[in-house]
């Protein structure tokens, strides 16, 4: 859809998303989407160049669900994230400098170099952490929501997870508990069609992850995960419901990861055509065009935002490379709050 068509689709700018958020907030959302994209491209590049070791899971193509979900969140709201968590982390407010420092294994990193990509967390911003265990964060989010309720706060916890994670028992147990205890938690499933190499058709008895919501007596909403406004409106409703004490919701964002599952993926389980088809639905480009069609930004401003993101990421990598290496005698540091004798 070009700009003109977009204008005609919503001529009076009626969509709640565009009315609810100030232009600055919308621009900031675009900025974050770019930060995520460039962060991951920078990480990928650093990995290729041998600067980063281990593995990483890129969410390129999935930026709308991360940013759209977190736009409604306060610093005191929690998220739990996944192995594919860079986007969630930046969307919730993390500083790419400290994230890159973590990737480079430096003391300045969010986890002082102990966690790396798969455990990146930014507790101050309310990100309780990525998780190397598929579905591991789901019950943790429910627990955070339980704490919120006990503390009589009106915060919420948002749990991100993938389609594959919804086949884990932890998903079932967690959603059931969230529902019976009416906890302020929003389950955001990023359904990118595959759990590693296994498609949802082959791994899930139902067509949509949202079909599972009925089993827990909670709303199950399907949105186009590549359209930030769709994601955001659904999450807005769910967080409002949660803050009002009406319990959890499940939102399924239909999306796609453009890159392979991790660095070892040879894309044998999907076709080039499928990847290209989804690449054409790029969530960033979609959002840009909407902002332009609605007169919130013009192309030049978009360029400025993109350039600033690029700049920020380049600086972050420089910052990280110059960070401090942990010393090997510190192997047992921080295993306990008070080091054992």
């Amino acid at each position: 859809m070009n700009v003109q068509a977009r204008r005609e689709a919503d001529p009076t700018n009626q969509r709640p998303f565009y009315r609810q958020f100030q232009p600055e907030a919308l621009q900031d959302a675009l900025r974050r989407m770019y930060l995520i994209r460039r962060f991951e491209e920078g990480a990928e590049d650093s990995y290729m160049r041998g600067l980063i070791h281990g593995t990483m899971h890129l969410s390129i193509g999935q930026e709308a669900s991360a940013v759209g979900s977190c736009m409604h969140l306060r610093k005191t709201d929690y998220i739990t994230s996944t192995h594919r968590g860079h986007g969630h982390c930046i969307a919730k407010g993390a500083d790419p400098k400290l994230m890159f420092a973590e990737f480079f294994g430096k003391e300045e990193g969010y986890c002082r170099g102990r966690g790396g990509s798969m455990h990146i967390a930014d507790v101050e911003s309310g990100n309780l952490g990525a998780n190397g265990i598929v579905a591991g964060g789901i019950p943790i989010a429910v627990g955070a929501a339980l704490a919120i309720k006990k503390q009589k706060r009106d915060d919420v916890a948002v749990s991100f997870f993938g389609d594959g994670a919804s086949n884990e028992g932890a998903f079932h147990e967690a959603l059931n508990m969230a529902s019976i205890w009416k906890l302020p938690v929003v389950f955001v499933c990023e359904n990118n069609k595959y759990g590693m190499s296994v498609s949802t058709e082959r791994s899930m008895a139902v067509e949509h992850v949202a079909d599972r919501a009925a089993g827990y007596r909670m709303p199950g909403v399907i949105v186009d995960g590549n359209r930030i406004e769709d994601v955001s409106e659904a999450v807005m409703e769910a967080t409002a419901r949660a803050r009002a004490g009406e319990g959890p919701s499940l939102i399924e964002c239909k999306t796609y990861r453009i890159r392979g599952h991790s660095k070892s993926d040879r894309n044998r389980y999907r076709s080039k055509e499928e990847i290209e088809e989804w690449a054409a639905k790029d969530p960033i480009r979609h959002f840009e065009l909407e902002l332009i069609a609605r007169g919130i930004l013009d192309e030049a401003q978009v360029d400025t935002i993109r350039a600033a993101a690029e700049q920020e990421i380049a600086e972050a990598i420089d910052f990280a490379r110059e960070g401090t290496d942990p010393t090997p005698d510190e192997v047992t540091r921080d295993v306990y709050t008070v080091d054992l004798a």
Partner: protein, 333 residues
């Protein structure tokens, strides 16, 4: 001023008192577990606490150990102090992912930016005719995991004080309670007090051999020591109390004095707690003081059977401790 009140309480009552006092002192503390509310817990440990503290602080969970453990981890991260009861320690096998991959590692993985103040209680052990899936002693699994602390108090006094210390602790503490101890009585001060985690205690001083025992085996070792003393064998009995971190100093000092060591524990012998105690001594400065092989008495290399005769034969009993220590002292091992 009056002398501090000391009453006889059962081990289960001592736990209940600790839980109540912790909840009184700190609104962040709450209990969760299966049937701990109106049922009072499978072993009546929580008793009528739900009536005193309400369902919000004494929460019955669905039968969903993994998820519920994860809820406890999340609540701990977000400012609560959950005390989680497994109905039987065997069911911890369902929740190890949250205990080991999450609770034990989160602080470390996050570079020390958070703590996970979580207490989990595990009714463990054989002797109730509950067979292979309800009688295990799996404490060695968790004692193998850095990031956890693991305790195994053997008396009403210790369980109260160590449980209160565990609830104070900023890190996850795993509490193994032998089911046969729940009815055991002992003196317990009414006031809250702490028994430190990480300290073993000499329950009986002696010079002929050091017996390091855990949980219910402490009592069997003490009985054995009494019998042996009638034969002129003067055993020192050490109650390990904490499995991680181990109080190596107390054990090393004892072995240096006695020159002999026996480890008595209920868990499966291979890779059970006695393996660690034995290896720790064998690599320590106490090695040079050893006058005999290190005796290990652990559980049989078999699941716990239902038949009561077999069940007893599966774990060390007093007579066996006596016989084996005697053999050791007489150079027959």
């Amino acid at each position: 001023m009056n002398a501090p009140a000391i009453r006889e309480l059962s081990y289960a009552q001592a736990i209940q008192e600790a839980l109540a006092q912790a909840m009184d002192a700190d609104p962040r503390v709450f209990l969760m577990g299966e049937d701990i509310g109106v049922y009072g817990g499978a072993f009546q440990v929580t008793g009528d606490l739900v009536h005193r503290y309400g369902e919000d602080r004494v929460m019955d969970t669905p039968i969903a150990e993994l998820g519920a453990a994860g809820v406890a981890v999340g609540a701990a991260l977000a400012g609560c102090r959950p005390v989680f009861e497994f109905q039987f320690s065997d069911f911890s096998a369902l929740a190890l992912e949250q205990i080991v991959n999450q609770a034990a590692k989160i602080r470390f993985m996050l570079g020390g930016k958070v703590s996970v103040p979580l207490v989990m209680r595990f009714p463990a052990g054989s002797g109730t005719g509950a067979a292979a899936q309800h009688s295990q002693s799996l404490e060695a699994w968790l004692a193998h995991v850095p990031g956890l602390k693991v305790i195994q108090p053997s008396t009403p006094y210790d369980i109260k004080g160590m449980l209160l210390a565990a609830i104070d602790d900023p890190d996850p503490v795993m509490v193994f309670e032998h089911k046969l101890l729940y009815k055991m009585k002992g003196d317990v001060p009414a006031e809250p007090y702490r028994v430190p985690i990480g300290k073993a205690i000499v329950r009986r001083a002696g010079t002929g051999i050091s017996i390091v025992a855990t949980s219910i085996m402490v009592h069997r070792a003490l009985e054995a020591a009494e019998i042996l003393s009638g034969e002129g064998i003067d055993a020192e009995v050490i109650d390990l109390r904490t499995l991680r971190p181990i109080d190596t100093a107390t054990i090393i000092a004892s072995v240096k004095k006695t020159g002999r060591l026996a480890c008595v524990y209920e868990g499966v012998k291979t890779l059970g707690m006695g393996a660690e105690i034995s290896a720790m001594i064998a690599e320590s400065e106490a090695f040079d003081y050893l006058d005999a092989p290190i005796l290990r008495l652990g559980g049989a290399e078999a699941p716990i059977p239902y038949n009561p005769v077999l069940e007893k034969a599966s774990v060390p009993q007093t007579e066996v401790i006596v016989a084996r220590v005697r053999d050791l002292l007489q150079g027959r091992i």
